[in-house]
Amino acid sequence: MRNEDSLYQKKRDRRRLFADFRFRVYGILGLVLAGSALLFLLGNIFSTGYSAFQQTVITLEFNLDAEILGVTSTASPAERQEANAAKVAKNGLYVLFPEVKKSKDKRNLTKLLSLGAELDIRDLLIDKPESIGSSVTLTVPMSSDVDQYYKASLRGEQFQSRLDEQQKKWLQILIDKKIVEMQFNTDFFTRADSRYPELAGIGGAVVGTIYTLLICLLIAFPLGVAAAIYLEEFSRDSFMARMVEANINNLAAVPSVIFGLLGLAVILNVFGLPRSTPLAGGIVLALMTLPTIIIACRSAIKTVPPSIREAGMAMGASPIQVTFHHVMPAAMSGTLTGTIIGLAQALGETAPLLMIGMVAFIANVPGAPSDPATALPVQIYLWAESAERGFVEKTAAAIMVIIVFLIAMNLLAVLIRNRTRISNK
């Protein structure tokens, strides 16, 4: 009898211990799944996007013949702008293939070259009119199809290219001549959006994002800090203060798309701010960031020990003086940390910007916050929706840039927090 009991108990204990083990495995499994989802996501983006930081270029000799261009070196800049640079760009390629005669073949041949070649030549004509009549050696981008095909062949991958067999043969000849090479893609960082993947860059979007975040910071930071000071230091526990507090908590959880509706209906339609601009975008994002900053600043103020306030008061400082001279300097690091985290959220926000029209196709870098612009996340959305295949790697590369920005901002926040923690000791 006793034996059976203990046997039963042993079995039960083993089952219970196994259940305990299983429970722990589920926990690890959950963590591993979440972690691998993160790694898969990042790995996927990086492996798609890293190639966009390089671009396929070709070094050709271009004959800047005045007759072909239709302008002389004494022509005005406006006339030089109108010069037939396209013809010169094509000729640069034709001279390497004298056997290509038919106009259809010629057209196919020029498809290897990017429109960027023509633009580079035009820039040269504008900057250095004295070069007209001579011949110059330029390194110009090749078309997106060539770019993708060449990158895939360097990686040794099979690639379903849009290039036909003849074009591939021509490209191979160029490669054998060692004038085709890969170089770091500076265009990607300096240029704005373009219809042509090989010419599209994030320069315009980055500038737009910087303007937007600047406006957001200029509005949200003073307002948020002021509101937090009022709520922590001056408001008595009145109905108003409680209402403000409930409001802030709710605002922090309102979906971002609702802020887009607010921006459209109030900021654009009632206040009449210009559409598609970082100015309007920054204001909308500021309203979204405000709760984050207020909550962070309030908790920073809460950590300032009352003894500091009392010491200030005892020395005859007024409440405002105590707040601004003693409490706020002590609470500043917490506030800054919260502000940076709020800005990092605003940096990735897309939906509200879409709705106030920052999705327009903008081919030049904005010069002021009141110029139409896109932002980095919106640019990612635009490229992701594009049917052109060359944009896929650009999208992933733009995502890598935005992630680098986010990491930098979060590191900055951590740095500020750690530094002040040491200095407070």
């Binding site: 979440a34 959880a253 009449g272």
Partner: protein
């Protein structure tokens, strides 16, 4: 350019006035307040009147310019007023030179001229008022100046009012959201019956813009959108709840402090990644993967399936579940655990029978908050879930959501009197009310729970 100039003028006026106040006080002896406060007082009395006038400039567009322009448009041609908002937008764009080369009729040209002249007049008037108000403020404050002026008290009173006003911005934002949504929604329900919107099963907002245009009449039954939203949110919860909860339990109960210090922020990275990145990932990688897998086992999946959007969204909301749950699990008093362990229960039994039940309210509210995130999430569904308003429970089909419809309706040009545009605001109000209810309920649960163990 002109706005930058205005700001420069304003700043230099404020600075000059402040400097003047500071300098004048500095020469005196036996002051009531320190020169700094006299300077700030002088600056504020210039800045505040100018700020008031500047806010006038903000509303001048809709109060003065727009009615005036629209009156010109309608005087000659009544039918032009069919879409005043759209016409007005067009005129403002023409004035900025955005629509160069567009052929327009005589009435529009007249309205354009009127717009340019009225805008110029109001701008000049307001600029004069702007500078004048600053000068009047300066004159007032410098007249009152003497050594016994309580400048510090005056400044502090104004600063306090400014602080209180700043905290009012949050209230104003909420009020703005509610009013904007309500106003446009009411206009929507003047054209589309309330019952049709809430219980209709047909959603096709494409409407004929002009009466003579061929096109569908539009149907605004939002039920498919609600169903699609819930379907995707449920898929997301199915992913996020087990992963998030088990991670939270492991981190709170089993993990060593070192692992916890590393894993918690690592999980929170998932919440920090921009949603547009998830959208790209869902559309480019996950959706084709699902199509391939389904083909392999003989099912047909849409390339914009609810499953792809839901799965990726689930990954995104894992940290919303795990972070808050971990906090509440850690907050359960150690004495409860000790009691259970002392009775011979294993750790798993303690967690399941003692810790989780007492942390349940907090966990429930974490789940509700995550659910409200999933419902309000926009970019993932815009990019991965498609626009077909299907009423289906099949996760392999394409569905659309409230947020996706709001965005697609409002991207690009829109006229604010067509039911299509207004429907976005009705959807927005629905979404706002729903998430607000979820949040208020969740926060209430959390607060009640916190009091219990405080």
């Amino acid at each position: 350019m002109s706005s930058l100039l205005t700001v420069m003028i304003a700043l230099s006026l404020i600075f000059l006035s402040g400097f003047r106040g500071w300098y004048r006080a500095k020469k005196e002896v036996d002051l009531h307040s320190r020169p700094f406060y006299h300077g700030v007082n002088h600056g504020l009395w210039v800045a505040l009147p100018m700020l008031a006038v500047a806010s006038l400039w903000l509303i001048s567009e809709s109060l003065i310019i727009k009615p005036s322009v629209l009156s010109v448009l309608t005087k000659d041609n009544q039918e032009l007023l069919a879409q005043p908002e759209f016409r007005y937008l067009e005129i403002t764009q023409m004035a900025e030179g955005l629509l160069d080369g567009k052929v327009v009729d005589a009435a529009t040209t007249k309205a354009l001229e009127r717009y340019i002249s009225v805008k110029k007049n109001t701008d000049v008037t307001i600029l004069i008022l702007f500078v004048a108000s600053g000068l009047i403020g300066f004159r007032g404050v410098s007249r009152r100046f003497n050594t016994s002026t309580p400048a510090r008290e005056q400044v502090e009173r104004i600063v306090k009012i400014l602080l209180a006003a700043s905290s009012g911005v949050a209230v104003l934002t909420t009020a703005g959201i509610v009013l904007a949504l309500l106003f446009e929604t009411l206009r929507f329900f003047q054209q589309v019956p309330f019952i049709d919107f809430l219980f209709g099963t047909q959603w096709s907002p494409q409407m004929a813009i002009r009466a003579d245009q061929v096109g569908s009449s539009g149907a605004f039954g939002a039920l498919p959108l609600f169903a699609g939203t819930l379907l995707i949110a449920f898929i997301a919860m199915i992913v996020a709840v087990p992963i998030g909860l088990y991670s939270a339990i492991y981190l709170a109960e089993y993990a060593k402090p070192k692992l916890r210090a590393f894993a918690k922020p690592a999980l929170e990275i998932l919440a920090g990644i921009p949603t547009v990145v998830y959208g790209f990932f869902a559309a480019l990688t996950v959706a084709p993967m699902i199509v391939d897998i389904c083909e392999a086992i003989g099912l047909s999946a849409s390339s914009e399936s609810a499953l792809a959007a839901g799965l990726v969204m689930g990954v995104m909301i894992i940290p919303f579940v795990s972070s808050l749950s971990e906090d509440v699990i850690s907050a359960v008093p150690q004495s409860l655990r000790d009691g259970s362990l002392a009775m011979g229960a294993t750790k798993a039994e303690t967690i399941r029978k003692v810790v989780l039940p007492s942390a349940l309210p907090g966990i429930v509210s974490a789940l509700l908050l995550a659910f409200s995130r999933a419902i309000g999430e926009t970019m993932i569904v815009v990019m991965a879930a498609g626009l077909a308003a299907n009423m289906t429970a099949n996760p392999l089909e394409s569905v659309t959501t409230i947020t996706a419809q709001i965005v697609t309706t409002l991207v690009g040009d829109q006229s604010f009197d067509s039911p299509k545009t207004l429907s976005a605001f009705a959807l927005g109000l629905t979404l706002f009310c729903f998430t607000l209810m979820l949040n208020v309920f969740a926060l209430r649960v959390v607060r009640k729970y916190r009091e219990q163990y405080a």
